[in-house]
Amino acid sequence: MYTPANGQRSLRYVDALREATIQEMERDKSVFLFGLDVDDHKGIQGSTIGLQDRFGPERVFGTPLSEDAMTGVAIGAAMAGMRPIHVHIRMDFVLLCMNQLVNMAAKAHYMYGGQVRVPIVIRCMIGKSWGQGAQHSQALHSMFMHVPGLKVVMPSNAHDAKGCLIAAIRDDNPVLFIEHRLLYSTECYVPEEPYTVEMGRARICASGTDITLVGISNMVMECLRARDLLSEVGISAEVIDPISLAPLDIDAILNSVNRTGGLLVVDCAWTNCGASAEILARISESPKLHGPVQMERMGFAFSPCPPSPPLEQAFYPDPSKIAAKVHSMVRPLDREWSPDPEKTILSHELQFRGPF
């Protein structure tokens, strides 16, 4: 998707985030951007670089290390009519502000009988690789999916990153906007003018007939690679990107599963009570499901994230594991198969030099 056609502009994910921010800040004076390190020379991997110069320190500012209070600041400013974007360079740090997010941001509109709105965007980056280990690697979206009042989006490509960020900024609710570090350097066609990507609308990234693969965030990329590997053995996988997890477009997934008869959800997180559990549960309880289907989940190994390379490899799903799993699901009677290792080296392993 979004491979740039002739003459079309290609943009990196990180630059798409920055462009969305600039366009919204220009359009709407009530938007402001803050968080640790948004104003330094690295600018959150470049996604906020130069914005303080452009919009001034009243609209773009770094903060003390006080995640809990800063989340309250976002909520309070939003109640007063502003539209804050609060940035966390690692999603792990939102564990410090769960009280504000869950007890206040999610509930304020309801608990105050509609008298206030909390239009905040919480940008969180999921870390991976270069031995960052247990506390710089977590993807905690399911904790937020659990809580009514919050929205959760996890765009997997530059096009959707821009469109979702604009949609999130314009949304009148708290939105967890979750980015994967390894997507930052990926590029695709990104229109220059502002646009929104609708929340709650999944996308079929590649069609197929034998199984439905649902990928979350960077796992969309990995599912697409797995699909390529599988095509060589004649297995045709459909790949779906939910884009937003709350609201979740379960119908798109259901329709696909009804066509393919199988479902594998691949998450960049733990599966236990995760997004993948929710998707399986919704499919399995749906009265619209035609007959029995085979369903499975893949995600992090059920352990904290280890930094040592061989452990990391065992910890994360990858195209090879996805392809092998799909093969076992689609051809349960065949003997086990896994793709040629040569072909499965992750592109980021060639490009990415960690850690930040």
């Binding site: 003390p64 309250g72 909520i75 939003a78 109640m79 007063a80 206040m104 608990m111 009988g113």
Partner: protein, 317 residues
């Protein structure tokens, strides 16, 4: 405003709060109010003193023990009682309850039942006011217990760093539930600590409403005028009733009735009341009782929300 008019105004507010709380306590055993009530009886002067120094378009933030601040800032009594009754006409349409009163028309930010939680929210609101540049300020109320939560210090630092127009008001009633200060505070140097952020801080010992208002007025004038940033008031005060619920609890042993007596002698409803003519006072009292009776009537006669309402307002649209 003449001094006498002013005293009438203060008395009306103090008495209004006292009487509302007494009325809640009276109704409570009937189970018509099914919501945990944290009464402000005894603590009225803090809210009244501070709010009487505010403009209508200034903002207050408070806690589950927030009836006093809500009333002092002019929140609707009818919508308050309706909320306690769980009625759809309540200030939270029956979705807040006693601990979450709100009145955005009067710039009363919704209160929270998780201690400390509204403190950073109030500085966020103050940040927006500062950007707006119209001289409006926020008064943020919280208890002594809230100063033990880390977010309080994070908030002081940020508010001072950004010189936000906010008055922090600690209602120090010496207890968090049943736990006295000495079990919770390594030292009582709260104001000294706040000053290390460059924030001027004053401690007021006797909950004198005029003194509170005077200090609040000076601080607020400073906040409006200049760029000097936040100010802090610690107001010693006393909760006469139990932590939650309508009753007294001196029999339970965690505090003494002598302590209560000492504070009752400083009762501000009475202290201001005696400065009015008996006839003035009786007139105000009667007005308040009528007002409360009307509010209770409103609550009683209002409908409950329909069950389908459970799923509205989850998301704003």
């Amino acid at each position: 405003m003449s001094e006498q008019l002013d005293l009438r105004f203060l008395y009306r507010k103090l008495r209004q709060i006292r009487r509302v709380e007494e009325e809640i306590a009276r109704i409570y055993p009937s189970d018509k109010i099914k919501s945990p009530v944290h009464l402000s009886i005894g603590q009225e002067s803090v809210s009244v003193g501070v709010c009487s120094a505010l403009r209508d378009d200034d903002v207050v933030a408070a806690t589950y023990r927030g009836h006093a601040a809500y009333i002092a800032k002019g929140g609707s009594l009818s919508r308050m009682f309706a909320e306690l009754y769980g009625k759809v006409t309540g200030c939270g349409t029956g979705k807040g309850g006693s601990m979450h009163l709100v009145g955005m028309d009067k710039y009363i930010l919704g209160s929270s039942a998780v201690v400390g939680t509204t403190i950073p929210i109030s500085i966020g609101y103050a940040l927006a006011l500062k950007r707006e540049g119209s001289g409006r300020v926020v008064a943020s109320f919280f208890g002594d217990g809230a100063t033990e939560e880390g977010v309080f210090y994070e908030s002081l630092n940020f508010a001072a760093l950004h010189r936000l127009p906010i008055l922090f008001v600690c209602e120090n009633n010496a207890y968090a539930i049943h736990s006295p200060l000495k079990k919770r505070w390594a030292s009582t140097q709260l104001c000294e600590r706040v000053r290390t952020y460059g924030i001027p801080a004053i401690s007021i010992a006797d909950s004198d409403v005029l003194e509170i208002r005077q200090w609040a007025s000076e601080a607020i004038a400073g906040l409006r005028r200049s760029e000097t940033g936040p100010a802090f008031l610690e107001c010693h005060t006393y909760r006469w009733r139990e932590h939650v619920g309508p009753n007294e609890d001196y029999q339970s042993g965690y505090r003494s009735i002598a302590e209560l007596q000492n504070w009752k002698e400083k009762d501000q409803v009475e202290a201001i009341g005696v400065r009015l003519l008996p006839s003035e006072r009786a007139e105000i009292d009667a007005e308040i009782d009528a007002e409360i009776a009307a509010a209770v009537d409103f609550a009683e006669s209002s409908p409950f929300p329909g069950p389908e309402e459970v799923l509205t307002h989850v998301y704003a649209s």
